[in-house]
Symmetry: C3
Subunit: 680 residues, 3 copies
Amino acid sequence: MIAAKDGPGMAERDGKTPVGEGARDILASLPVLAYGGDYNPEQWPRTVWREDMELMRRAGVNLVSVGVFSWSRLEPREGEYDFAWLDEVLDLLAANGIGAALATPTASPPPWFSLAHPDALPVRDDGTRLTHGSRDTYCVSAPPYREACVRVADALAERYAGHPALRLWHVHNEYGTWCHCGHTEAAFRRWLAERHGGLAALNEAWTTAHWGQIYSAWDQVNAPRATQYLANPAQLLDFRRFTSEEMRAAFREQKAVLRRRTPSVPVTTNFVLGDWVPVDHARWASDVDIVAIDHYPSGDGRAAEEQTAMSADLARSWAGGGKWLLIEQAANLVHVDGRALAKAPGRMRRHSLSHIARGSAGAMFFQWRAPRGGSERWHAAMLPHAGPDTRAFEEVVEFGAALPDLAETDGSRVDAEVAILADVEASWALSQPGMPSSDLSYEAAIAQAHRVAGRAGHTVDFAAPGADLSRYRLVLVPSLYLVSDAAAAGLASYVESGGHVLISCFSGIADEHTRIRTGGHPGAFRDLLGIRVTELRPLPEGERVVLDDGRVGTLWTEEVRLAGAEATGRYPSGEPAITRKPTGRGVARYLSTCLDDEGYAAEFAVAAAESGAAPVLPGLPEDVEVVRRTSAGAAWLFVLNHAGTERRISGVRGRDLLSGKAVDGELALPGGECAVVRLE
Amino acid sequence: MIAAKDGPGMAERDGKTPVGEGARDILASLPVLAYGGDYNPEQWPRTVWREDMELMRRAGVNLVSVGVFSWSRLEPREGEYDFAWLDEVLDLLAANGIGAALATPTASPPPWFSLAHPDALPVRDDGTRLTHGSRDTYCVSAPPYREACVRVADALAERYAGHPALRLWHVHNEYGTWCHCGHTEAAFRRWLAERHGGLAALNEAWTTAHWGQIYSAWDQVNAPRATQYLANPAQLLDFRRFTSEEMRAAFREQKAVLRRRTPSVPVTTNFVLGDWVPVDHARWASDVDIVAIDHYPSGDGRAAEEQTAMSADLARSWAGGGKWLLIEQAANLVHVDGRALAKAPGRMRRHSLSHIARGSAGAMFFQWRAPRGGSERWHAAMLPHAGPDTRAFEEVVEFGAALPDLAETDGSRVDAEVAILADVEASWALSQPGMPSSDLSYEAAIAQAHRVAGRAGHTVDFAAPGADLSRYRLVLVPSLYLVSDAAAAGLASYVESGGHVLISCFSGIADEHTRIRTGGHPGAFRDLLGIRVTELRPLPEGERVVLDDGRVGTLWTEEVRLAGAEATGRYPSGEPAITRKPTGRGVARYLSTCLDDEGYAAEFAVAAAESGAAPVLPGLPEDVEVVRRTSAGAAWLFVLNHAGTERRISGVRGRDLLSGKAVDGELALPGGECAVVRLE
Amino acid sequence: MIAAKDGPGMAERDGKTPVGEGARDILASLPVLAYGGDYNPEQWPRTVWREDMELMRRAGVNLVSVGVFSWSRLEPREGEYDFAWLDEVLDLLAANGIGAALATPTASPPPWFSLAHPDALPVRDDGTRLTHGSRDTYCVSAPPYREACVRVADALAERYAGHPALRLWHVHNEYGTWCHCGHTEAAFRRWLAERHGGLAALNEAWTTAHWGQIYSAWDQVNAPRATQYLANPAQLLDFRRFTSEEMRAAFREQKAVLRRRTPSVPVTTNFVLGDWVPVDHARWASDVDIVAIDHYPSGDGRAAEEQTAMSADLARSWAGGGKWLLIEQAANLVHVDGRALAKAPGRMRRHSLSHIARGSAGAMFFQWRAPRGGSERWHAAMLPHAGPDTRAFEEVVEFGAALPDLAETDGSRVDAEVAILADVEASWALSQPGMPSSDLSYEAAIAQAHRVAGRAGHTVDFAAPGADLSRYRLVLVPSLYLVSDAAAAGLASYVESGGHVLISCFSGIADEHTRIRTGGHPGAFRDLLGIRVTELRPLPEGERVVLDDGRVGTLWTEEVRLAGAEATGRYPSGEPAITRKPTGRGVARYLSTCLDDEGYAAEFAVAAAESGAAPVLPGLPEDVEVVRRTSAGAAWLFVLNHAGTERRISGVRGRDLLSGKAVDGELALPGGECAVVRLE
C-alpha cells in the first residue's frame, strides 16, 4: 500500500470518499467489471450512432467515456451551450443499458476561447506562446481558464444530474501540461512562499549562492526560463512539484462542483503514465474517488506484458489496495519506436486480464470506434476502420462475453509480501542535467526490480517513502536518489522491527531540496547499511565489471568502505561491491553497482528467502504470470501464459471460470491462453 | 503524360502557351540545345567579365542565367535602379552570341526592403520572425512583397524588351518557402473559403470535432502554429496545398507582367526537387512556357544516375511529353551526406546526356564560375576555383563541342509503355506524424518502382491521378496513400478498358481530406483489386518476411482477405500477400508488403509481360541506360554505360553522332562512355 | 612562442605588464607554485569556514580564488554593498597564510540587475531573450552591464587595496557568451566600420553580391540572425572576431580600474578552452598580466593526458614562453560523454605535473569544497562530498606537501625546436556550414600534430601566423584553411631562410575574409610548395586510401599537380599525394590527404630528421612524457609515466626532487609515477 508522503494516506482521508468496503457507496454506480471505451459520437453522423449501439451491445459494452474533447461542440460560442446532441447520446446509451463516464471537456478549450483569452495560452520556457490547433493548449494557472473550467463542469453537472446513464465523472483528460507564463510565475511564487516560508529559506533550500542567484525580492523568483547555461536543480524540482500541485488544485475545483450537483456519482480523472508527465500520481491518488489509469505499453515482445503488470501494480498501490480502473488501453496495437504493431491473437485479452487480476474493476479502451480524421486517426480502437468483420472486433466481442464470468472476483484483495519503495520525486531529481552519469535511469531501476520479482513469481506493491511498511517482508529500494530524513528514518525503523531491505546504488544521496548529503554516501542510509561510500565511479560507456562471484555489474560502481556491514560480493580489486548488515531484527543489503537482471535476481532470491517472502506459486515458468486474489471466503488464481507454447502449472485445484473446466492439480495452458481458477 | 488534376492538362491549356509542335513559336528564342550556367558578373570585377566571354566561347556556351539574386545590385535603394552594369553584361553576351535567361531577382529581396517592410519577413510556426542575411527571406503572401516583385519585374521587362540577348525569362528562383505570419493566415483563410465553401464544410473536411477544435468563426482558423501536441493532419495538408497555390499565384503575377512587355519571350521558373519543397510541380506545370528543373542527385554510386533518370522522366511528364529544360545541375560534384564528392571523369557528360535523352532541350549548370565568397562558395561550377586549366573545365569544353552533333534529335519524342501513378499530395499525407509506421516512405516507393522498371530496360512516364492512362500498357501505383474518388474511378475504368495495374501496399487509404476510408482497406481500390484488408501489420524494426515463393517483404504487411482476387504469393501463415484479379479486359495486382528490389522486379516482370509492355531493347545489362527518341522520320538511341568497364549492346545499327562511327549490330561501349546512335 | 597577429607580441607589449625576468615585479605577489582552488564560503555557514582553514593548511593550499559568482551576495540591492562576510573571509585567509585571487563577480549579475536592466539580458539569434537563473546571463555590449561591471570592480578594489591576502585579481570568469541584441548590433557595426573602413569595403570583403545582400546603409548590417537559409560566412567570421574583441574591451575596462587602485597586483582572467568559446586567446594574451587557463580534458584513457600536454603548451605559447597558471582543473574527475569518471590514483598528480613541467606556476582546481547544491553540485573538488577521509583528499594533501620541493624550477624555460602554426580564425572558418567535407576538423588536425610530435618525444610550441619562427627547426601547419597574405609570406620567408615546414591538406585556401583564393589550391602556399591542386576530393564516408608506400589516407584527397615539387608519396592512381620541395635553404612538404597517426608520424620523423629537430631524450617509450626545463645554471627533467606498469628511461643522471633519490643513468618509474630530476 502506498501513502501520500505529504498528506493523509488513502486509508486516512476524509470521510466523503472512503475506500475499501466502505467505498462501495460512492462506487456503486459502476458496473462490476467495466467494459467499453472512449466514445466520440460528435465525430460521426447520427446513422453511425445506431450502429454503435447495436455493436456495443454485441460486444457487451457497459461503460463508455463520453465528451472528453467536446467543449467546442458543447459551447460553440462563449456561454452558448448546445446540449441537444449529448442529450440524445446519453439517452441512447441509457436505452441500451450502457453507462456513461461523462467527461468534463476541459482538456481542449475551443478555438474561440483561445482568441478571447490569449493569456490563457501556454508559454514555453523560451517565451513562445502556443496556439490552439491541437489539444491540451491552455495554461492551468490562468484565471480565465480555471473559471471557464468550473463553469462548463457546472453546466454539465446541472444538466445531467440524475440522468440514468451517468455512472462516473471523468474530469479533464490526462493532466500533464507545462507553462512558463506570468500567471504561472505568480502562482509558483505563491506556492513557494507557502512551502518555504520566506525568501531566506528559499535561498538556502535552493543554494542560490551557487552561481550568484541570491534573491533579494520575490519578484526575482521565476519559473524556469531559457537561460544561458544550466538551471538551478532545486528550482527545476520545485517547479515540477508546483506544476503537479497546481493541476491537482484545478482538478479539485472541478470535483467540488460535480460533487455538489451529483453527490453520489464518483469523480475521477485518467492518470497517464510516462516520465514526461508532471503529475505525482501517488500524491494525487487521495483526491480521486477511484484511481483510473491509461496504459500504453511501449516495449517490444515480453516487455509489453511486464510494463502492463507494473502499471497495474502501481495503480493498485496508488489506490491503497482498493478498487481501481484501467480506463484506457489500446485494443489492438502496441506502439514501439514509431511503429503501430498489431497485437497477436489473444494478447488484448491477456493484457486486460493482467490489469483485472491486479485489481482493475474492468478493462476499458481508447477508443470505441476508430476515427476517420484527426491527429489520432491511426490510434487503436475496439472497432477498427475495417469494421466489425475483423479479427480485432471479434476478439472484443469474445472477451466481452467472458467478462461476466469473472464477476465473483469483485471486491477481493491482492496481497503482496514484497514492496518497491518508489517516489517520482527521486526520478525527477535523478534525471536532471549534471549528474555523475547519464546512464543511470530511475525508471530502469524500478522496472528491473519489478521485472525480476515478477519473474520469480512474486506479487509486488509499490510503497511511498514514509508509508507504513510493516506488512511487507522485503522492501526493494532501487536508486532512491532523493529522500527526506523522515522517510529514511522510517525505513531504518522498519528494518529495526524485522524488515528486510535491498537498497541499490545511488540511493539516499540527496535531501528533499536535492542537496547532496555530505560525509560519505549514501548519506541517508549510511548507518542503516553500515557502510560509507567515499567515491562514485561511473563506468565508461559499454564497460562492465565482473564480481568475485561471477555476477556482472553495469554502468556504475562505488568505492565502499565497511562500517559495520559485511561484504557479500567484491569487485576485482577486492573492494566491497555488495554488502549485508543485520540491524535490530531485520537485515539491510546494499548493491553498489547496477547488477544485470541475472545478478539482481540472485540477490533478490537470497534476500527474499531470508525475509520469508514467498512466490505466489513455487516453480513457475518465467513467462507465466500468476496473481492470487483473495476475499473473506474464497481465492482465485489468475494465470496468464505469455509464452507461445503450452505451459503446465502444478499445484492448482479448482474450476477455471473462463473455460468452465475443473483443474485437478495441473493446469495445462496453451500458448497465449489464460485461466481464472476459483481455488478449492 | 501527366495532367494537372485540378486544372487543364498541358495539352488542353490556354492558347497562349501551347506545347508540342505548336509550342515552337514561344520557344523559338531558345537555342536548340542550351548549354551554360548561372552567371553572376556582379560578384566580379569587369576584368573577369572579359575572361568569362572568352572562356564561354571556348566552352560553347549559348545560354546563361543572369541576375538571379541581383535585386540589391539593381535597386540599391527603393525605386532607384542601376541598370548600367546589366546593360553592359547583356551587351557583352549578345556580342559574343550568348543568350540570356534573364532572371527576376525576387528570390532575394535587398536588405533595405526588409527594413522598410518588416511585415514582409517570414515567420516560423513558433512566431520567430526571420531576418535578411541569407536568400529567400520573404513572406510570399505579404502585399508589399508581392507589389515590389511585380514592380521590379516590370522595370526589367521594360528595360530589356527587345534586347538581342534576351531569350528566356527566369522568374524568381526555386519557389519553396514557408511563412506563418498574419498575411499568410489571411490568405490561407481566403483560399480555404474558396476551396471548402463554408466553415461547416471545413469542420467536416478537417474532422475538427476530433480533439475539440470545431471553428465557430473564420478568424479562429489559422496557419499551423506551434501548439501543445500533434497538429490536425488535414490542416497541415491544406496548408501545403495553399502554400503551393500561393506561390503559383505570385509566379503568375510576374509572368503576366513579362508577357505583356515581351509577348514572344518564353517565361519559366526553375523547379527544385526534394521532399522539403512545398510546390506541387505537376499542378504548376501548365503555368510555365517550358518546364525547367534543377537537379542535384544526392545518392552515392549508381543511385545518382538513377535519380537523374527519374528526375528527367518527371520533368518530361510535367511538360506533357514536350520540350523541357535541365536549367541547373552541378558540373563536378555530387553532395552526399555532407561531403562534396568529385564526379569521376565522364560522369558530368553521362548525367547531362541522361537528361537530354529524356527530353531536356539542353544541359545547364549552377553555375558558370565558382564564387570566391558567399554561402555557396563551395558549390560546383563549370569553371572551378582552380581555373580553366583543370580536368573539370576541360570536360566542360569537350562536351560543349559535342552537343551540336545532337541537334538533329530536337523535337523528337520519348514514348513510354509504362507509367507510375504519382501525386505529391499522397507524399505529403503519408509523411505526416502519427502514421502506422514511420518506415514507409512515399519517395522510396516511387523511386523503387522507377529504378526497377529502368533496370529492366523500360522507359517510364509519370502520370497524375485522374490523367488519361490509355496510352500505357502497365501502370504502377506505389503506396498512393491519398486518392480522390474520381481518380480511383479513373484507374478502375483504365483497367476495365484493358489496362494493367500493379498497386503497392498502403494505397487508396485516405480521401482527399486525408480521412481514412472505412470498411476495409485499401478503401479506394477494394473492388478493383477484389480484396479486403482487415488489419495493417507494420513489421518491427529490422524484421523481414519471406513469402512462399521466396520473395522478401520488408517494413510492412497486411491481413488480406480475398474477395474476388486470387493469391499469387502468400505469407508464412498461408494468408495472401500478393494478389491478382482480372477485371474487364485488364488485370489488377496488389502487393500487401514492401518487396525488396528483387521481389518487386519479379512482380514487375510478370505484370509487364502480361500487359505486353516491352523494354527499349531486350537483354540490356542493368548498368546501361538506353532511351529511344523518335520523330516523324527518324529514331535515335541514347546509350549510356554507367559501368566501369566495357558493355556490349546488340541489336543496334546506325551511326553514333558522338563518335561519328557506324554501329553494325553490336555497340561496344567502354566503361563510362556514351553513344547517341541514329538508327537505320 | 606565439605573437598576436594584429598587435604587439608578448615580448613587445607596453611597459606596465612586462613578462619574463622583468615581469617579476608585477607577479611577485604570487606564490612560487600556487596551490589551491575556487573557494565559495558564501555557500556555507561560518562553522564550515573554520574547518576549511584547517584543511587548507593541511593540504598546503597557498592561493584560492574567492568571490567568482558573489555579486548577488556582495550587492544584494543596487548600490547597497555587503562586504562584511568577505572582509572576514579575507582576514581568515590572511591569518592562515593563504593568498586570495580575488574575483570580480561580473560573470553572474544578480537577479535584481536583470529585472532592472532587461536590455542587458542576452538575446539568441532567433530573438529569444534569456533570463537569469543560471550564470553568464548578460549582454557584454549592453551599456548598463558594462557600467555596473566597472562600478563593482572599483568598489572591490577600493575596499581591498592593500589587504594582505590580495595576491591576484581574477576578473570575471571564462569570458565566452554570445548575444544578438540591439546593443550588440550597434557595437558590431562600430567595430565593422573601424575594421573595414566603409560600406563598399564591407560589401567587397563579405561578397554580399552573392545572394543579393549588398548593403546600401549601415543600419542594414546586423548580427547573424535567424534567417531563411545559410548565413554569410564572412559575416559569421567577423561576428566571432567582434565578439572576442568586445569581451576583450570589457576585460580591459575592469583591468584599468583595478590597476589604478592596486598598481602592484597582477590582473588576469581564466581562459577556458573548447571550440564553443568565442575568445581568441592568442590575441587576448597580451592583455593579461599572467595567462591563466582552466583545463578539463574530455578524452577517455590516454587522450586526457595528451589534451593536458597540449593545453599546457598552448598556454605557455600564449604567454610568450613566460610564466602562466593552471587556475582550474578537476581534482578527481574526467568528464567523458556524460559520465564523470574518477581519476585513478596518481592521475591528478600527473596532470598537475604535466602543467607545471610545461610552465605553469602552480596547480589550481575548481574547486576547494564540493557544493551541496546548485548546477555544479557534482563537479569535482579538492575536498569531496564524502569529506577529508577519502582517497581523493589524501592525494591532495600528499601533492601539496611535495610541491615546495619543486620551487627551484621557478623561472626556468621550456625550449622547443618544433612549432605548430595555429590560428583559431582558421578553425572558425573551417567549421562553417557549406564546406566540401564535414569530416575535416581543425581541432582534430591540430591535436594529431601535437600528439604525434609528443609521442616522438618532442616538445612543441604553438605559433601564430605572422609570428617570428626563426627559433624553430620545423614548423607543422595542419589544415590552416584561412591565412592572410602577410602570414603566408612570413612562412615562405621562414623556409627561404632555412626553415622546414610540413603543411597538411586544405591549408592556405582562403584569405582573411574567408574568400577562396583562385587559380589553384592551396592558394597561399602554391609557390612555396611547388604544387597546384586542381580538384578537392573528399572521400565518401568511411573510405580510406592506401598510398604507394603503404601509408593510409583518410577523409580527404586532392588532385595535385607538381610545379617544382617532387612526389614522395602517391595515390593508387599514381598521382602525387605527398610532396617535397627545397626552397632557399629550407624545405616545404605537403600532405594532400589526412594521414592516420602512423602515417603522419612517419612523415614527421623524416621531416624532423632532415630539419635537425631532436626529441628531449632519444628512445623514449611513447607513454612516458618528458619535458626539459632549463635556467641559466641548471636543468631539470620532468618525467611522467602514464603507463600502468614500470618504464625505464636511460640517459638520466641527477637527483629526483620528488623522491629525493639519486638517478644514475637509468630512471625506473613504476606505473603512474613521476620524477622531477635536477640534472647533473
